[in-house]
Symmetry: C2
Subunit: 136 residues, 2 copies
DNA sequence: CATATATATATGTAGAATGCACATAGAGTA
DNA sequence: TACTCTATGTGCATTCTACATATATATATG
């Protein structure tokens, strides 16, 4: 709903809505933390693994910037790995705070699933409430 | 993960994470459209109805600005209602494009639910893949 | 009548999230 | 040498959204 191409009413045809994915904010952070909880990793590899969560063709800039911010926030720690061929890698490790954050987010996600249920109940045509009378 | 109060590792205690709700982007737009699909309404009333979706204490500015943007995008239309007591109301009606947008969003939401299932499967300890060997 | 309150809509500003484009650099290989 | 793969980043613009504040009308209350 935020570009020129979307355009006017198109009578119910499949619209070319961009940026209309029902994806929560901060999705990337928990996905990274979940990956790091399994095993330590680095940006380039995390990018591939993130695609398992629907982050297809993840753009590198967003990922690397997010990782640096996460380190500032204390949910991950990093160190350079230079003991092998190829460019140096910044290896990341999840912290205790990171695990706590992940748990918190998972609980929040459960709550959100209930909200989605409510949405679908209304969407599929079973209103939760009748139209109230005009007040006063 | 974006404020000073979150702070450092806290060893798994319940953290005071702010803004860490698993809430999707653009949630407000479909909620408004869903409300308007049931019956025409206006900002002040929509604000109350939005609270049914977990938008507690919605701040008015966000809602009214969103409504105006939605009209620009062609998913709603509005007209002033002055034929009654009290301040004038801007009454909103959903358009065909709005209905199309809502349908699109709902389908997107279904896709996203699968992604969440994947997330929870990993979170609760059943990895989808083993750690691959170091390449090359 | 004056003032307060409820109703109703809106702007200004700032910060966070995010996408897109582009920049940098090491190591192997043709 | 040039090219490609691997790997990490920055700059810029847009969007989303929270918070504070402004405006106006009608009704209730003293």
């Amino acid at each position: 709903m935020n570009n020129d191409e979307k355009g006017q009413a198109n009578g119910g045809r499949e619209p070319g809505f961009r940026g209309v994915e029902a994806r929560p904010r901060n999705w990337l952070v928990p996905v990274i933390l979940l990956s790091l909880r399994e095993w330590n990793s680095y940006g380039y590899e995390l990018m591939e693994r993130a695609s398992n969560f629907g982050f297809e063709a993840m753009n590198p800039g967003t990922l690397y910037r997010t990782l640096r911010q996460m380190e500032k926030d204390g949910v991950v720690e990093s160190s350079w790995e230079t003991s092998r061929g190829g460019p140096a890698r910044r290896m990341y490790t999840i912290t205790d705070a990171g695990r706590a954050y992940l748990d918190f987010w998972a609980r929040s996600l459960e709550q959100y699933q209930q909200t989605m249920d409510t949405f679908f109940r209304l969407y599929t045509g079973r209103p939760l409430q009748d139209k109230p009378d005009e007040k006063k």
